[in-house]
C-alpha cells in the first residue's frame, strides 16, 4: 500500500520499509492532518455560521406556518452549531498549546517559555480568542435549550432557538469578518510576543470565561422574551422557563465579577477591589439588571403579574451585555484593561447592539399591551416588595450607566471633557444599595398577595435591635468617628438576620427540634433565597468594614529595620533578585510578628517580564478571616533602603465571600425541583418526595 505522501524523512524518520508501510502512512497522514488542523477549524467556524443562518430562518418560518418539520430542524442545527464551534475552539487551543507561531494570534499572544496553564488561558487572553470563546458559550446555550427544552411547547422552542441563532449569526459575522483568530503568517517567527503579564495569573485566567457565561447566558433570557413577544403570550410557565437561564447567567456574572475584583485586589498593588472603571461597570450593569429580572420573573411565575416589565428587563439585560461588549472592544471609553480595541470592531458591535436592542424594543412597543397581567395584590404584599426591589436595582443600574457614558455625552454634546470617577459613583450609587438593604428583610418576608407589615416587622424586629446594638458597639470600639463602619455593620446584620428570620418563619409553629428538622426540608429555592441574601449582607458589611477601618503605612525601610502597624510588627529581612520561568524578580523578605510570635513570612515582589517589556507588582498577603495583611515592596531609595507599603485590611475576604454566597444561593435555587429539567412533564405524574 503506497503512501499518499512520502514523508519518510520528516514524518517517520525511523521507517526503513521500501514501500510505505502502514505505520509510515499513518504518521504521514497525521502530519498532514495536524498541518491542516487550523484550516479545518477555520472551516468549521464558517460552516457553523452557515448553519446559524439556516437556523435563524427555517424554524421561525416553520413556527409561523405550523410546520413541525421545519420547526424540528432547530434542534440538530443548534447541536451542530455548538459542536463545530467547539471544534474550532479546540483547534485554536491546540495551536496555543503547541506554540504554532504560523498563527498570527499565537505569535502575538504566546511564548514557548510561558507555563502551560497560561498557554491555554492565553487562548482567551486576547480579542480574537475571547470572541471565539464567546461564540462557544453562545452556541452552547443554544444547544442546551435544544437538549433540555423538552418541556417547552414546540412553537416557543423553535422561536427561541431561531432568535438565539440570529444572535449567533451576528457574532459569527463579527468574528469571521473583523476578528478572525485563524489568520496565518506567511513566515512563522521563531517565538512569540508573550501574553500581557497582568493576565498571567490564575484569578484573571478564569475571570473572562465566567463573565462570558454570564453575558451570553442573558442572550437566552432575551431569546425567550422575543419569542414570547412574537407569540404574544406570557404566562406562569414562561416565567418558570426563563428563570433558570437568568439565574444561571446571574450566577456566572457574580462569580466572574468577584474573580475580577479579587484579582484587582491582590494584583494591582494597592488593594483596591473596585475602581468604577468603564469595563467593570460594563459587567456590573447586566448584573444589576439581571438581578432585577430574576426577581421579577418570580412574580410572573407565581402571580402572573409584571409581565411586560419582565420582558422589558430581559431585553435590557442582554442590551447591557452587548453594551458591555461594545465598551470593552471599542475602547471608546478609555479604561485600564481593554486589551484590544479597534474602532472598526466597535462600530460593528454598535450596529449589532442597535439592531437587536432597537428591533426588540420596537417589537416590545407593538406587542407589550398583549401581555395582560392577571394577579391582583394589595399595597402591602410581596409583589409590592419586589417592585421596590426592581425600582432600586434598575435605577442604580441607570446611575452606573449614566456615569459610565457621561464623559462621552458631555464631550459630544456640550464640548466639555469631564471625568466621572469613583467619588461620583460612591456618592450616587451607594444610597440605592443602602435603601435596598434596609428594605430587603421586610420586603422578602411579606406574604404574597396581601401581607401585613406589622406581622413582618414582628418577626424581624429582634434583628433590628441586634443590628443597632452591633453598630453602637462598632462605633464604641473603632478609633475615629467614621459613620461608614457602624452603618455597614448595622446593614450587614440586618440583612443577614432578616434572611435567617425568613427561614425560621417558614419552619412553622411547632417545637424547636421539629422546626429545625423542617428547615432542612424546605424547598431549595427557599435556601437559595436565604443564602443569596445572606451573601448580600456579608458583602455590604465587608465593603464598609474594609473601607472604614483600613490601615495604611508607607515608609522607607533599611534591611533589618522593624516597625509597627496596628498590633503587628514588621521586619525587612532581605531583598534579593531571582529569575522566574519568563520573568525577573526583586523579592523582599519581610517577617511579621504579633508580640513575640512570628505569624508569617511575606515575599512581595516586583517582577519584570522582558518579552512583553512590562513590570508588575506582586503583593504578598496573609489572608485571614478578620483581616488581611497586605505588603508591597517598591523602589530602592537613593539613600539606601526600600520603599515598603503595609496595609491592614479588615474583613477584606468577606467581600468576595459574600459574592460566593450569592452565587451559591443561585446554585441552590437553580437546583430546586420545580426548575429542574422536565419539571412541566413531571407534574403530570407527581412522585412522592423522598423523606431525607
Amino acid at each position: 500500500m503506497p503512501c499518499r505522501v512520502a514523508l519518510r524523512s520528516e514524518g517517520a524518520p525511523n521507517c526503513t520499509a521500501e514501500e510505505g508501510c502502514l505505520l509510515c502512512c499513518l504518521a504521514a497522514e497525521w502530519v498532514i492532518i495536524t498541518l491542516m488542523l487550523i484550516e479545518l477549524g477555520h472551516f468549521a467556524l464558517i460552516l457553523a455560521f452557515g448553519i446559524a443562518i439556516v437556523q435563524m430562518i427555517v424554524p421561525m418560518v416553520g413556527a409561523h406556518r405550523g410546520n413541525a418539520g421545519w420547526m424540528a430542524m432547530a434542534e440538530p442545527a443548534a447541536t451542530a452549531q455548538f459542536l463545530l464551534t467547539a471544534f474550532a475552539f479546540a483547534v485554536l487551543t491546540w495551536g496555543f498549546v503547541t506554540s504554532d507561531f504560523s498563527l498570527q494570534l499565537v505569535y502575538l499572544n504566546s511564548h514557548t517559555d510561558k507555563p502551560m496553564i497560561y498557554k491555554i488561558t492565553g487562548v482567551w487572553g486576547n480579542h480574537e480568542g475571547s470572541m471565539l470563546l464567546w461564540m462557544v458559550i453562545l452556541t452552547l446555550f443554544g444547544a442546551c435549550a435544544a437538549w433540555f427544552g423538552d418541556g417547552l411547547p414546540a412553537r416557543l422552542r423553535a422561536r427561541v432557538l431561531a432568535v438565539q441563532a440570529s444572535i449567533a449569526v451576528a457574532f459569527f459575522a463579527f468574528v469571521l469578518f473583523t476578528s478572525n483568530p485563524f489568520l496565518r503568517l506567511e513566515v512563522p517567527p521563531l517565538n512569540g510576543r508573550d501574553l500581557n503579564p497582568l493576565l498571567q495569573d490564575p484569578g484573571l485566567a478564569f475571570h473572562p470565561p465566567f463573565l462570558y457565561l454570564g453575558y451570553v447566558g442573558l442572550s437566552m433570557s432575551f431569546s425567550f422574551a422575543i419569542a414570547a413577544l412574537i407569540e404574544g403570550r406570557v404566562d406562569a410557565a414562561w416565567g418558570r422557563w426563563v428563570r433558570p437561564w437568568t439565574l444561571a447567567a446571574w450566577m456566572f456574572l457574580t462569580i466572574g465579577i468577584a474573580l475580577g475584583s479579587w484579582w484587582a485586589y491582590y494584583e494591582l498593588g494597592w488593594g483596591g477591589f473596585w475602581f468604577w472603571d468603564p469595563v467593570e461597570n460594563a459587567s456590573f450593569m447586566p448584573w444589576l439588571i439581571s438581578a432585577a429580572l430574576l426577581h421579577s420573573a418570580i412574580v410572573v411565575e407565581k402571580r402572573e403579574a409584571l409581565k411586560s416589565w419582565t420582558i422589558l428587563l430581559a431585553i435590557l439585560a442582554f442590551g447591557f451585555s452587548l453594551l458591555g461588549a461594545f465598551i470593552v472592544r471599542s475602547g471608546v471609553l478609555t479604561s485600564v484593561h481593554a486589551f484590544a480595541n479597534d474602532p472598526a470592531r466597535g462600530m460593528l458591535i454598535l450596529i449589532i447592539l442597535a439592531v437587536f436592542l432597537g428591533g426588540a424594543l420596537t417589537l416590545f412597543a407593538f406587542r407589550a399591551h398583549a401581555m395582560e397581567s392577571k394577579g391582583v395584590f394589595s399595597t402591602v404584599s410581596r409583589e409590592s416588595g419586589l417592585i421596590l426591589n426592581n425600582i432600586l436595582l434598575s435605577v442604580s443600574c441607570f446611575v452606573v450607566f449614566i456615569g459610565t457614558i457621561w464623559p462621552l455625552v458631555s464631550e459630544l454634546l456640550f464640548d466639555r471633557t469631564v471625568s466621572v470617577g469613583p467619588p461620583f459613583f460612591d456618592a450616587a450609587f451607594t444610597p440605592f444599595m443602602v435603601a435596598l438593604a434596609i428594605a430587603l428583610p421586610l420586603g422578602s418576608i411579606l406574604a404574597w398577595k396581601r401581607g401585613s407589615l406589622a406581622r413582618a416587622a414582628k418577626s424581624v424586629v429582634g434583628w433590628l435591635v441586634v443590628a443597632i446594638a452591633m453598630a453602637g458597639l462598632a462605633y464604641a470600639i473603632q478609633s475615629g468617628n467614621s459613620a461608614l463602619g457602624p452603618i455597614g455593620v448595622a446593614l450587614g446584620v440586618w440583612v443577614v438576620g432578616g434572611a435567617l428570620a425568613d427561614l425560621w418563619m417558614r419552619s412553622g409553629r411547632d417545637s424547636i427540634p421539629q422546626r429545625l428538622r423542617r428547615i432542612t426540608r424546605l424547598p431549595r429555592a427557599d435556601w437559595g433565597k436565604a443564602t443569596a441574601h445572606i451573601g448580600m449582607g456579608v458583602t455590604i458589611f465587608g465593603i464598609a468594614a474594609m473601607m472604614a477601618w483600613e490601615q495604611e503605612d508607607i515608609r522607607i525601610a533599611q534591611i533589618g529595620d522593624s516597625w509597627d502597624v496596628g498590633q503587628f510588627e514588621f521586619r525587612l529581612d532581605s531583598v534579593n533578585q531571582f529569575e522566574g520561568p519568563n520573568y525577573l524578580t526583586t523579592m523582599a523578605d519581610i517577617s511579621v510578628w504579633q508580640g513575640a510570635r512570628q505569624i508569617g513570612d511575606l515575599h512581595p515582589e516586583k517582577r519584570f517580564y522582558p518579552v512583553a517589556n512590562m513590570p508588575t507588582t506582586e503583593a504578598a498577603i496573609i489572608n485571614g478571616v478578620l483581616r488581611d495583611i497586605y505588603v508591597v515592596v517598591g523602589d530602592p531609595q537613593e539613600g539606601g533602603g526600600w520603599a515598603v507599603r503595609v496595609y491592614l485590611k479588615p474583613f477584606a475576604n468577606w467581600i468576595w465571600g459574600g459574592a460566593m454566597l450569592m452565587a451559591l444561593g443561585g446554585c441552590f435555587s437553580l437546583s430546586d425541583r420545580r426548575l429542574r429539567i422536565g419539571a412541566a412533564s413531571a407534574k403530570k405524574t407527581p412522585k412522592a418526595v423522598p423523606a431525607e
Binding site: 498593588g269 494597592w270 483596591g272 475602581f275 472603571d277 468603564p278 403579574a305 479604561s335 485600564v336 397581567s373 394577579g375 391582583v376 395584590f377 394589595s378 399595597t379 409583589e383 409590592s384 417592585i387 421596590l388 425600582i391 434598575s394 435605577v395 442604580s396 441607570f398 446611575v399 449614566i402 456615569g403 457621561w406 458631555s410 456640550f414 466639555r416 471633557t417 469631564v418 471625568s419 466621572v420 470617577g421 469613583p422 467619588p423 461620583f424 456618592a427 450616587a428 440605592f432 508607607i554 515608609r555 522607607i556 533578585q577 529569575e579 525577573l584 524578580t585 526583586t586 516586583k606 519584570f608 522582558p610 512590562m614 513590570p615 517598591g634 523602589d635 530602592p636 531609595q637 520603599a643
Partner: protein
Amino acid sequence: MKRLLVILVFLASPLWAVDPKEMLDDPVLEERARALSQELRCPVCRNESIDESNAALAQELRIVLRERMVAGDTDEEALEFMVSRYGEFVLLRPDARGANLILWLAAPALLLIALGIGWSTIRARRAAPEGLSDAEKAELEKILGRDAP
C-alpha cells in the same frame, strides 16, 4: 549576568504611587492631601487617580498639590488651582454646574418617576374590588334571567 538582571529590573521599574519621599511631615496635612489626590485624575492615565497612578506626571501633580497645601490652600482652593492648570478633566467628581447637572440629577429624577409608576401599578393592581363590578353584576343578573335594576 546577575548585574545585567539587576539593571534590567531597575530600568523598567515604574515610579511608585505615593512615594515616601513625597509625603508631608504634618500627618493632618498629609491626610488631606491623600484625600484630595483621590479626587484628582491623572491626566495621562486611563481612569486612575493621581493617588494610585505610577505615571511621572501623577507624581508631579501629587507634589504640586502638596506644595499648595503647605502654602495654606483650602481643599477647594487646591482643587481650583488644579482645574485652572489642567482643566475640568482632572476632577473625578464632576462639579454640579451647567450640563453636569444632568449627570447628578438624572438618577434621582428617574427614581421619582419609577416610584410614581410603581405606585400607580400597585394601586391599579389593588383596584380589583372585593365583590363584583357593576358590569359583572349586570352580567350575573342577565344569566340569572333577571332584568338589571
